[in-house]
């Protein structure tokens, strides 16, 4: 099963993870990314993610296709927020299931690292008095 979503709604972490994995799987690896406060020495009020939607979806599909061709992964879920995201909300959820843990860890890592390089989504931090686009690769 593959599930990719770009959404403004909060991510229902428990529900999404519950969809991942089957009897054939011995491992489900999840990654949750969330906004970090004060990374540039300024208090962040909230973030805004902008996405070039059709291309962001097609790049996410390429990543998931590559994962399924490269590792024996059964289920692959990627949910990314866009629009306003507050500090207590996840901005991204990745869940991968596979028969053995090594492939699940490796593919989940590949997904998040590749998203940060190729998927056209940008984040802007909002502070008490201003805002800034974040463009560095973390």
């Amino acid at each position: 099963m593959e599930y990719i979503s770009l959404q403004t709604e909060p991510i229902n972490v428990g529900l999404e993870i519950s969809k991942c994995g089957s009897e054939a799987d011995g491992a489900i690896v999840t990654f949750i990314g969330k906004p970090r406060n004060g990374s540039r020495g300024m208090a962040v009020k909230y973030l805004e993610y902008e996405a070039y939607q059709p291309m962001a979806l097609s790049e996410l599909e390429k990543i998931v296709t590559h994962v399924k061709r490269t590792w024996p992964v059964n289920d692959c879920i990627v949910v990314h927020r866009y629009g306003i995201v507050t500090l207590d909300e996840p901005s991204i959820l990745i869940a991968v299931s596979s028969p053995h843990r090594a492939e699940a860890f490796e593919s989940a890592r590949y997904i998040i690292e590749t998203i940060k390089k190729t998927v056209p989504i940008w984040k802007k931090e909002y502070y008490q008095d201003g805002s800034m686009w974040i463009t560095e690769h973390p």
Binding site: G33, Y49, E50, A51, Y52, P54, M55, A56, S58, H80, S91, I92, I112, I115, K116, K117, T118, V119, P120, I121, W122, K123, K124, W133, I134, T135, E136, H137, P138
Partner: protein, 81 residues
């Protein structure tokens, strides 16, 4: 030849628009369009070496040739996740 330009994130703010049609009179390379978009804008010109390009939703080189009606996206390095 007319092409649609979409800007995202910082380059959108620096240029002051999100979407605009451009008419190209030269041979129709993406580089010609980029120069038309950033012409006379010092802040945009300073960002040029970091910009990424996509034509009709696929990453493209600045040397590629455009076609009538192409949708060209210009954006800084991505920062999702």
């Amino acid at each position: 030849m007319e092409v649609k330009v979409k800007l995202f994130a910082l380059i959108k703010d620096v240029c002051g628009f999100q979407e605009r049609w451009y008419t190209l009179h030269g041979e129709g390379r993406l580089s010609e369009l980029v120069q038309a978009v950033i012409a006379g804008n010092d802040e945009a010109t300073a960002m040029e070496h970091r910009l990424l390009y996509a034509v009709n939703g696929e990453y493209a080189s600045v040397d590629c040739m455009l076609k009538e009606g192409d949708e060209v996206a210009i954006f800084p390095p991505v920062s999702g996740g």
